[in-house]
């Protein structure tokens, strides 16, 4: 059985691991409380830009060294930024534990070089342009902006072309010093890991992280204004699009909320890609390309998304159809057969995912970062299997009764 271990260093840096000597690999990740919601207007996109810059060299390593050494360790390594966190991770063979710990930890003290900053700015602008060309053409970002306001949870993770063009390396260094302090960081590990060795190693290597202090103090945002580059129209015009993209956003449970297991099962019953109510009525019949829904959990709030993609001329009809399906679940709940099917499918999914340490890493690290809590596979399974029809009905009523906010990209 996997074993859970944790330690908090005197600096406040937290280390957690789910170790299992039977695994063929180990995964390691730094989880940092630095996401779009931590940014002010002049910092918009900075968490994500910084994530790129963390690969651009340290006192001991050039940018080329970092990339080369990551590749020398042969595994999968990457990073991502969300509304609430930035994560740097790698999966390698256990024999490389010491080297990956050294490398990832060193990367967490970047030099943030001016020339590299200018080159990477271009890559970020390309990334923004790339997503502008991809369905649903910024529709999800717009939904978050309109629903949560363009600040806090609604702030764009990539920033805007305007905010990235106006960014300076000095501001990034400041943001780094503010956010990448030990108390904001969790180091998580999973798989075939030597935990005791890890703790000793990290304590010694991160001793100076508490010295990080920010110089600049930025004024609070003027919440009566709209940040530069942001529009709040509920219509996203796209030239040449063949399909219409409809995103609806409403309230959902947070990742702290006990209703989240019922909400996930409800989403499976309503909107899974095979065998859900939306599927049988809208996908299996070829009425829509996509008709799905999901809860999105943040640490203290949550959202519920419905997503519909179809021919523009079918949009109104399909939207009504979706609404009727939702209303019927709000009114009558779900059948026991449907619920058991969703539970079986979800439970099997958890079991299958847990086979790879790289999959476990994210739930362990994120949960500890935000809630200081560890949930093992058996607990997740138990909580999923404990959901009954009444719990589903309650969640449906609570979150799906109200008319959601709607964004149309077409």
């Amino acid at each position: 059985m996997p074993e859970f271990q944790q330690a908090t260093l005197p600096s406040g840096l937290r280390i957690v691991a789910e170790t299992d000597p039977r695994n063929y690999s180990m995964s390691l990740g730094y989880f940092v409380q630095a996401g779009a919601r931590n940014e002010l207007d002049p910092q918009s996109g900075l968490s994500h830009f910084l994530e790129h810059m963390m690969f651009k060299g340290t006192e001991r390593r050039s940018a080329e060294d970092v990339n080369r050494e990551l590749d020398e360790l042969g595994g999968q390594s990457n990073a991502y930024t969300s509304e609430e966190q930035t994560v740097y991770y790698a999966t390698v063979l256990p024999k490389f534990q010491d080297r990956i710990v050294d490398l990832l930890t060193d990367m967490m003290s970047p030099v943030l070089d001016d020339d590299e900053f200018e080159t990477e700015r271009k890559v970020i602008l390309e990334e923004i342009a790339k997503y502008e060309d991809q369905p649903p053409f910024g529709g999800f970002e717009r939904a978050m902006e309109v629903y949560f306001s363009p600040r806090g949870l609604g702030r764009r993770v990539l920033g805007t072309s305007e905010s990235i063009q106006g960014m300076t390396a000095a501001r990034m260094r400041d943001y780094f010093n503010l956010r990448y302090r030990p108390e904001n960081i969790v180091l998580a590990a999973s798989g075939n890991v030597d935990f005791d060795g890890l703790v000793a190693e990290i304590e010694q290597r991160t001793a100076t992280w508490s010295d990080r202090t920010a110089d600049e103090s930025l004024a609070a945002d003027d919440t009566d204004s709209i940040p530069e580059g942001i529009e709040l129209s509920r219509r996203v015009p796209i030239s040449d699009a063949v399909q219409a993209y409809c995103i609806q956003i409403g309230n959902g449970p947070s990742s702290a909320c006990g209703e989240r297991h019922a909400a996930r099962l409800l989403a499976s019953i309503l909107g899974d890609e095979g065998g859900s109510r939306f599927f049988w009525d809208l996908i299996d019949t070829g009425r829509a390309e996509v008709a799905t829904c999901w809860p999105q959990e943040f640490s203290d709030r949550g959202a519920w998304f419905n997503y519909l993609v179809c021919a523009p001329e079918d949009l109104e009809g399909n939207k009504r159809f979706m609404r009727e399906i939702i209303d019927s679940v709000v009114d009558k709940g779900v059948t026991d057969e449907e619920l058991q099917q969703a539970i079986n499918k979800t439970a099997a999914g958890y079991i299958m995912q847990s086979e790879r340490p790289s999959n476990r890493l994210f739930s362990i690290g994120s949960r500890w970062l935000v809630h200081n809590e560890y949930v093992d596979l058996d607990q997740s399974l138990a909580k999923t299997r404990a959901v009954d029809q009444a719990a589903i009905a309650q969640v449906a009523k609570k979150y799906l009764s109200e008319e959601p906010t709607e964004i149309l990209a077409m």
């Binding site: 039977r22 590749d71 999966t91 699009a241 019949t285």
Partner: protein, 425 residues
């Protein structure tokens, strides 16, 4: 359960692959992985895109969809309920040469799952009243691609690369989909769904004997037919531009190469790895990291049974598209001139690590077994592959790329402006 505590022990616990051929021509390959909780299978039949008539393109996908709309004693809804209750994470789809059905699941569901798929491929209802729904579903897929510039250029470059029969996508066209009727579906099913050339691969927490017995039981009396040899590719070098008002210019390129199973394959593959695998690879480093030209740039190898290709993609804002294309193709051209041992070593560690970590996934093993068997006619044990990779020298890689410089590029761009493409690329 394996109780290995280090990678070396992990390697030694690789299990044997059992290969068993049924009299009707179906082959079953089993790799027990008793340390896992899951099992996975892939079932491939010779009913791919190349088996369609051009004016019925999309038919292979349509039949793949239709066989899952009710089979044996189950309705379409029953099938999905069974699959969900068995905890199956499933997929299906057609490629150029085959149609495949696969799933991963908790191991205890395996026997029932395989019986279910025997119903699907052997006893489908092909309900006439659902043809329109299936057709509409496929039209949705076609429409979706229209809105995805990356997919559009990659789809088109593949067509140019292999020619219309081997290179076309699985989705068909609006015209061909409209033309498909129930006779086409029955006939394609009759001709292509049988044990001849069928491959079943199983990996995970299973026992080889019981899988072979079960396969005999559920597929042993399936009828068999001959199947056609693969046609030859007919692509040519050409540049095409698709005018669009996109934020980026999307660049797809391809050039002819050798397929998996060719003696020089891994020497070729290592060169592409040095170009594109990992963050220190040449394209990532020199196009993205050093010049900031792109967010995405990559190249990869693709194999049919008798032909192969290297395919690449880069997306960049229009003002920098020409430079991106020139730098990318320039890097490919000069690959053999300054290869370094450390580049090959990094690629080897990457492949080796991947092979070891594949043992954590039954699904990934089942699908590797299926593609190996299709391409080279036998299972490729991990240890053997590992040895081939290990013995590869820098001279092998350099020699291959010096003797086979890329030529006859097929290039497709989508964006506001056409690019200049050197003749002879």
């Amino acid at each position: 359960m394996s109780t290995s505590t280090d990678a070396a022990a992990g390697q030694s616990s690789q299990s044997e692959i059992t290969t068993h051929r049924l009299p009707n021509g179906m082959t079953v390959l089993v790799q027990p992985m008793p340390w896992l909780r899951t099992a996975a299978f892939t079932l491939s039949l010779r009913g791919g895109i190349q088996n369609e008539a051009a004016e019925r393109s999309g038919l292979a996908s349509m039949v793949c969809e239709m066989v899952q709309r009710g089979a044996g004693s189950y309705s379409s809804r029953d099938l999905v309920a069974m699959q969900d209750n068995l905890g199956m994470d499933r997929n299906s789809g057609v490629s150029t040469a085959t149609v495949s059905f696969g799933a991963a699941m908790p191991a205890e569901s395996f026997a029932e799952a395989l019986r279910l798929y025997a119903d699907i491929v052997r006893r489908p209802h092909l309900p006439g009243d659902q043809i329109e729904d299936a057709r509409m579903m496929m039209i949705q897929e076609l429409r979706a691609i229209e809105d995805e510039p990356t997919q559009r250029v990659m789809k088109r470059v593949r067509e140019l690369h292999y020619g219309p029969r081997l290179g076309r996508g699985s989705q068909g066209t609006m015209e061909s989909l409209a033309a498909i009727d129930s006779d086409d579906i029955r006939q394609f099913y009759q001709t292509n769904y049988h044990a001849g050339g069928a491959i079943l691969t199983v990996a995970g927490r299973v026992e080889a004997d019981s899988v072979v017995n079960l396969t005999e039981q559920v597929f042993g009396d399936w009828r068999t037919e001959a199947f056609d040899a693969a046609p030859l590719p007919v692509g040519t070098g050409v540049y095409e531009h698709i005018q669009a008002t996109s934020s980026q210019t999307h660049i797809a390129f391809a050039f002819p190469s050798i397929p998996y199973g060719h003696p020089d394959y891994f020497a070729m593959r290592a060169g592409i790895g040095i170009l594109s695998d990992g963050m220190s690879s040449r394209l990532f480093d020199r196009v993205r990291e050093k010049r900031g030209l792109c967010y995405t740039v990559s190249a990869s190898c693709h194999s049919l049974i008798n032909a192969g290709g290297v395919f690449g993609y880069a997306g960049t804002t229009p003002a920098r598209a020409q430079e991106t294309l020139d730098v990318t193709l320039g890097e490919i051209r000069k690959l053999p001139s300054d290869l370094e041992q450390s580049e090959l070593d990094r690629w080897k560690v990457r492949i080796e690590s991947g092979l070891i970590m594949e043992q954590e996934s039954s699904a990934s093993r089942a699908s590797s077994l299926a593609s190996d068997f299709y391409q080279i006619g036998r299972a490729m044990p991990t240890a053997e592959l590992s040895e081939i990779i290990e013995s590869l020298t820098l001279e092998d890689v350099r020699g291959y790329w010096e003797n086979h410089p890329p030529s006859d590029y097929r290039i497709v761009t989508l964006g506001p402006e056409k690019l200049a493409v050197e003749s002879g690329t």
